[in-house]
């Protein structure tokens, strides 16, 4: 009995790690006040990038994971830059990045799959052996990462700046925090973690790729993060629940005789229920989202003086207003 339970816990370590990292990254991004609806697209993209790079480098895991992280981080910095520098909707920007992520993922993955098909015996990924102690290391790593993230957010200067940018960016700016820089940092770090999660999801869990691999799992990470109130320690709990659901889908399905397609639905139903439970109970107040999450933060700037302009080359978009369009 005990052995069976340990076997179950060991078996889900890779999915657990993937979800935890993606949800933690998402939490960090949102702590800085950037509403992250790009998560699913970037997750799917990093899945494809990790897979393609693993095919091209003949299963060099380190390079594959790093590439996925870098690509994701670039997306994160773009998102943070756009919503902080321009007075635009976080939701629209995030969603459009999601579509871009889906599209790019297919363009990245398809050629790599053709190459994998043409090489005999090339398999990508690394399976965590449940009989070796690697899975214990994974669990210890999750706890250490959680503690590290908690420390980063609550005890360090940069963490305080991230929280300030999420709660009240205008006040933070007045106190000398460079909100743009802080959000760029949080975006890069958070999305690198999402990318890492995507890469681990692909390389140690799915290990094959077809168009659409990973779609929807980014949203699950989103729900995992929301239902734990973006707290790095509570996230361990909620991501373990979802990891269990996803990993043991087939087993649950066989045990209770649930058809395959309905079983696939379960994590999404659970995700919506988690959000409802979170928002309908006192948890909502205890683990409140950052006050300025998703709000447009924009400092209107004054026209620079003529003297200042003389010392600069000014590239201006105002030619649209000069041309008489009517």
């Amino acid at each position: 009995m005990l052995e069976a339970i340990i076997g179950l816990i060991a078996g889900m370590s890779s999915v657990f790690l993937a979800y935890y990292l993606a949800a933690l990254g998402h939490a960090i991004v949102e702590k800085s006040g950037v509403l992250n609806l790009a998560i699913d697209g970037v997750f799917v993209l990093s899945v494809a990038v990790a897979y393609a790079q693993a095919v091209y480098t003949r299963n060099n895991l380190l390079i594959s994971i790093l590439t996925a992280m870098i690509v994701a981080a670039i997306f994160g910095m773009l998102l943070a830059f756009f919503v902080t520098k321009f007075p635009i909707s976080h939701g629209a920007t995030g969603l459009s990045m999601m579509f871009l992520g889906y599209g790019l993922a297919s363009l990245v993955g398809l050629p790599a799959r053709n190459i994998q098909g043409s090489i005999e015996g090339l398999e990508v990924g690394y399976t965590i052996d449940v009989h070796s102690p690697v899975w214990v290391i994974v669990y210890i790593a999750i706890i250490l990462i959680g503690l590290g993230a908690l420390f980063l957010i609550n005890k360090t200067k940069i963490g305080a700046a991230i929280r300030a940018a999420g709660e009240d960016p205008a006040a933070a700016e007045a106190l000398g925090v460079n909100v743009l820089m802080v959000r760029l940092f949080a975006g890069a770090l958070g999305f690198a973690l999402i990318g890492l999660g995507g890469a681990i999801f692909e390389l140690s869990y799915v290990q094959v790729w077809s168009e659409g691999t990973g779609i929807g799992h980014g949203w699950l990470a989103f729900a995992v993060s929301l239902s734990a109130g973006r707290n790095p320690i509570l996230l361990i709990l909620s991501s373990s629940v979802f990891a269990g659901l996803v990993k043991y889908m087939t087993a649950i399905q066989a045990m209770y005789n649930i058809p395959q397609d309905l079983a696939k639905m379960l994590p999404f139903v659970a995700a919506i229920l988690a959000m409802v439970i979170f928002m309908a109970t006192p948890l909502r107040r205890r683990l409140a989202p950052p006050k300025s999450l998703g709000k447009i933060y924009f400092r209107e700037e004054k026209e620079r003086s003529e003297k200042y302009k003389k010392n600069c080359f000014v590239l201006d978009s105002s030619f649209f207003s000069e041309v008489d369009l009517s």
Binding site: L95, L100, M265, I272, M279, E301, K309, S321, L325
Partner: protein, 359 residues
């Protein structure tokens, strides 16, 4: 050390005419997608190829007609909720719930014996199905203030899997063993207009919905309430109108309209449901978001936006035949145009200056 390049954003004295940003976003977004396709295909898909298929998409009106009409309906549906600043991203799920119930009417109820009764019931049931699916997301939004974007999105996946299950476990056709349902009876197939992909019923449905929604926003208090919801919900509250109810109505009407598009899709385009639905979908629920956004939330802008997006949709599918990869191209189009649009919307009210310090 100061960074030598900086960007300053200043408010305009007079905002730009509203149509500049969508057009600019389209052009810039297309240029970006062409570059992406060129680079990612290793130079195989040249901008020339892309332009050629876009030209094909814009000019092949017969092929475009069905996509256009369906996108107009879905776009209007999304517009109703977007006007109230309720971001319904679940068009795809509401659309397919409509398809599902319309298929049920056509295949398993007795209503198919008569053309008129059969088709009317299909559309009515699809309407109810879309409304119900939207209501499921609207209730938590209205009463618990749960962000509707992730909820409606996840409801899309739930809808996909429910339909997958029903196709495989209950409705699968037995004769040839394909992973799909039977074709709907001839009496429930919509009447195609000669030489096009458009059916008369779809055309009528589109015009009816357009007029009804126009009337709703022009003359009814509900239309006004939805518009006020986006700009000033407190005003609603202080004038004694239920904000909850307005949110419910906005999302439910939105789902209703999109559900009807589902019935029209089944009747005039697909005629059956094939497994797995998430791979077979043309993605009108998602493309509709782009239509509603590009219309600048003006009803009259919806057909224009639907024409453009419909053409790009056709073009994207055309390119994927040329080998650039799956429905990916459509997503690249949608993503880069939307992103450009989301960012460029700034310039309608602000000037952007890029300042490079002289050394």
């Amino acid at each position: 050390m100061e960074f030598p390049i900086s960007m300053v954003i200043v408010r305009r004295v007079k905002p730009l005419p509203y149509w500049i940003v969508p057009i600019l976003a389209l052009v810039v977004g297309l240029v970006i997608s062409m570059m992406i396709l060129y680079v990612m295909s290793g130079g195989q898909t040249t901008p020339y190829d892309v332009l050629l298929s876009i030209y094909y998409g814009f000019t092949n009106l017969g092929l475009l007609a069905k996509t256009f009409a369906l996108l107009v309906i879905v776009g209007i549906g999304l517009l109703v909720s977007f006007k109230g600043a309720i971001w319904n991203i679940g068009g795809e799920g509401q659309f397919y719930m409509g398809v599902l119930l319309a298929a049920w009417v056509a295949l398993f109820t007795g209503f198919a014996f008569n053309e008129l009764i059969g088709k009317t019931t299909m559309i009515l049931m699809a309407l109810l199905a879309g409304a119900f699916w939207a209501l499921l997301a609207a209730l938590p939004r209205a009463y618990l203030n749960i962000d509707e974007v992730p909820v409606t999105l996840m409801m899309n996946y739930i809808a996909y899997y429910i339909i997958d299950y029903i196709i495989m476990a209950r409705w699968r056709e037995r004769q040839y063993g394909y992973y799909r349902t039977e074709t709907i009876p001839e009496t429930t197939k919509f009447q195609l207009i000669e030489g096009t992909t458009l059916s008369i019923e779809l055309l009528l449905l589109m015009i009816t919905i357009f007029v009804l929604v126009w009337l709703m926003f022009k003359y009814t208090s509900l239309g006004l309430r939805i518009r006020v919801l986006s700009s000033n919900p407190n005003l609603l509250r202080s004038s004694g109108i239920s904000v909850h109810l307005t949110i419910l109505m906005a999302l439910t009407i939105s789902g209703m309209i999109i559900g009807m598009a589902g019935a029209a899709y089944l009747g005039s385009v697909s005629h059956n449901l094939s497994y797995p639905i998430e791979e077979k979908t043309p993605g009108y629920g998602y493309a509709g978001i782009l239509v509603a956004w590009l219309s600048m939330l003006e009803l009259i802008g919806v057909p224009i936006a639907a024409y453009i997006i419909g053409a790009l949709h056709t073009a994207g599918i055309n390119i994927q035949i040329a080998g650039a990869g799956g429905a990916a191209v459509v997503n690249v189009f949608i993503g880069s145009i939307l992103l450009t649009y989301a960012v460029l919307i700034t310039i309608s009210e602000y000037k952007i200056r890029i300042i490079v310090k002289k050394r």
